[in-house]
């Protein structure tokens, strides 16, 4: 009997992007056709979105998908701004 399958986590910048734009989870959810709780699951890394949803979110923020989602942890934005590491 095998145990639970563990999926690798897809990291994202949703919380930061939402905060920058002053968006609530409900507003983002409405814009991309998801439930507001799903946005919370995404932000906490408890759910990996489908490609469609990931593209919809990136489109909504007007960013390339790799700026919003990544298989590796994102460096802190302050580090990028002050050139302490590469993006």
């Amino acid at each position: 009997m095998t145990g639970k399958r563990t999926e690798p986590t897809l990291h994202n910048r949703l919380a930061v992007l939402r905060a920058e734009r002053g968006l609530s989870r409900q507003e983002l959810a409405d814009a991309v056709g998801a439930n507001y709780q799903t946005i919370g699951y995404l932000e906490r890394g408890e759910y990996n979105p489908s490609l469609l949803l990931a593209f919809a979110i990136a489109d909504y923020f007007g960013l390339p998908i790799e700026a919003v989602f990544s298989p590796r942890p994102f460096p802190a934005l302050s580090d990028i701004v002050y050139n302490r590491t590469s993006a």
């Binding site: 056709g33 799903t38 489109d59």
Partner: protein, 174 residues
């Protein structure tokens, strides 16, 4: 957004079940699940089983258990109606996953219950040295139980497994 399920903005109505805390939902699941078995036992077992009870008293017990079960089930139904029974176009992709996983788990639990019921019906009386001649009266409560649990299990699994909703932190966004 073309290609995504459903209509944007229509999904807040699919979370009415989160009015209950996880603990509250689990209490409802326990009441509804045990209530079905207890009501069936009171309705059929007390009439023809090893414990006999007069019709009037039995009727009161069946009625009381039935009402408690029904109330717990109705509250659970709000959860089921919101997620376990919702059509695809009312759910987003995560909710569809949760619903589909609940049906898989329900099927596994249902198989265990059916096997347990068959063992209770067929093997245990034989092993205990009291073979039972199967008649419709004896099989009926098991059939009713199978139907009721098949209806109850998906919403019960969703209500049991869905985590406590995490509120949005105040002050970070408008």
């Amino acid at each position: 957004m073309a290609g995504l399920r459903g209509v944007p903005g229509d999904r807040s109505t699919t979370d009415r079940g989160h009015e209950f805390s996880r603990e509250g939902r689990r209490i409802l699941v326990i009441f509804a699940s045990l209530g079905v078995a207890a009501t069936l036992y009171a309705a059929f077992g007390l009439e023809q089983g090893y414990v006999y009870m007069e019709g009037g008293i039995r009727g009161l017990i069946v009625g009381g258990l039935g009402i408690v079960t029904l109330v717990a089930w109705l509250f659970l139904y709000r959860f089921r109606a919101s997620l376990a029974q919702a059509p695809d176009d009312r759910l987003d992709e995560r909710q569809v996953q949760v619903r589909d996983r609940a049906y898989l788990q329900s099927f596994r639990i249902f198989v265990v219950l059916v096997v347990a019921g068959l063992a209770l019906l067929g093997f245990l009386p034989q092993l205990a040295g009291h073979p039972v001649a199967l008649s419709f009266d004896i099989v009926l409560p098991f059939l009713l139980g199978a139907i009721l649990y098949a209806l109850l299990l998906p919403s019960a699994v969703v209500a049991w497994t869905e985590p406590e909703p995490v509120p949005e932190p105040l002050g970070t966004v408008r």
